[in-house]
Symmetry: C2
Subunit: 257 residues, 2 copies
Amino acid sequence: MAIWGIVNQKGGVGKTTTAVNIAAGLAKRNKKTLLVDSDPQGNATTGLGVDKTEIKSTLYDILMEGKKNPDNSSTVKKTIIKVSDCLDLIPATMDLSGTESSLLDAVGKEYILKESLKHIQKKYDWIIIDAPPSLGILTINVLSSASSVIVPMQSEFYALEGLTQLMKTIAIVKKRINPSLSIAKVLLTMYDPRSKLSRQVTEELTGYFGTKLSDITIPKNIKLGEAPSYGKSAIDLFPTSKGTVAYMDFIDKVMLL
Amino acid sequence: MAIWGIVNQKGGVGKTTTAVNIAAGLAKRNKKTLLVDSDPQGNATTGLGVDKTEIKSTLYDILMEGKKNPDNSSTVKKTIIKVSDCLDLIPATMDLSGTESSLLDAVGKEYILKESLKHIQKKYDWIIIDAPPSLGILTINVLSSASSVIVPMQSEFYALEGLTQLMKTIAIVKKRINPSLSIAKVLLTMYDPRSKLSRQVTEELTGYFGTKLSDITIPKNIKLGEAPSYGKSAIDLFPTSKGTVAYMDFIDKVMLL
Ligand SMILES: Nc1ncnc2c1ncn2[C@@H]1O[C@H](COP(=O)(O)OP(=O)(O)OP(=O)(O)O)[C@@H](O)[C@H]1O
Ligand SMILES: Nc1ncnc2c1ncn2[C@@H]1O[C@H](COP(=O)(O)OP(=O)(O)OP(=O)(O)O)[C@@H](O)[C@H]1O
Ligand SMILES: [Mg+2]
Ligand SMILES: [Mg+2]
């Protein structure tokens, strides 16, 4: 059983697209997978076709229950939604944006997600957690729960700037909360090898990360942008698209090897 | 004197690119302009070439002073950095990510930015505020301070999803805190008219926003992505690029008319 977080505080770099398609890809390889949406925007929830107006319980409810009654497993069990044979989802709605203030005074607020997942993690081969574009308490909980992280990265200047801060935050969480935390891969998304900027940023990243920079990149592929409007992953909807092939390649060669 | 916020909780839609280039464009038109960076990532600060390691005081210091001594104007005055003839900057660093917890117990925490700007706003024709990708206390302060907002929008499915929530938040701020708040324009960025998805999303937006949807769009333009790596706006560095022309068109026809 492995828990991987998809993190980067820079906005719009492909965290949700990576989380949804990797989770769907693992399910396609018959791995029992749970996708956790920890972003108040709830894009991963909608990306898998779940109607947010019909959801009765979300990650927010799990965290609030975890704060009060850490040993109670009923909330996390009733929140899980079955999406397909091997894929379950813990959904998120805007309620989750209240987490920062609701958990502020909780003792050990960084461990609440990890403890909540303990109640159900034995059922799964993989748990993938989509993080929001910030380094607040939700992303800290993702880093505390995960054994590894994937850092989706656009090869753009502003995205490069945020990396130092992200690495500092990962180092602190590793030191104080989760010693087993490691970076699995930095994954270039929406990658266009023809652009000068892309090549410059990639050179910088290779210098900074060495082999941690995945040599498999995710190309810019309109199908990855279109799939969410049908409420399905590109893996399921466009199995032969460039985006799907790249994500399956990453799953087979980096995650399942 | 007008204060405009650049807001959208969806990540990576072009908030910073819009804020930096609109501020630089207004300065080019000899309008005394202040750009306020309210995102802990500090991309607008770097985008204008300011070295974050040399900054002595940031927006965070202004907000903390504002909480304690609202009548003291010395912090905001010493934090302002002159960037060019008609352009000043209030910078941001990662310190700003402590705002949510530091202001949680402050009475009227939504008004602290607005009060701080009061000390210096008479010096300017325009104040442009770049917001972070969230609907937390920083974005609420931006909405409370601004008379109008520009909502940069990528014509993508996930970006569409966040709009309802953003509109709800704007409506609440307008009702309870800032009755003069209005949406100036929703501005399509990185716009590719050839893509089917773009056209579908644009149709939805026209239905939803009518004339509030700017008929001037910002095209995908590599120069807008490259300029920040030189620490300058595309307006100053690539004056004839498609991106610059579009932003100047928006400034001349929407903001200065
Ligand atoms: N490889 C790709 N090719 C084409 N479009 C992509 C690709 N990856 C992501 N996108 C699109 O780019 C936009 C940003 O991606 P996404 O929302 O997954 O990023 P994110 O990091 O989760 O954003 P946020 O910071 O708001 O959570 C989305 O509209 C998505 O559909
Ligand atoms: N019109 C454009 N053409 C090409 N690239 C663009 C354009 N607008 C923005 N970009 C690039 O797209 C990326 C996202 O833009 P930007 O960082 O301005 O968005 P943002 O909304 O401020 O992101 P965040 O949510 O992280 O604050 C950046 O790397 C930027 O350089
Ligand atoms: Mg996301
Ligand atoms: Mg930004």
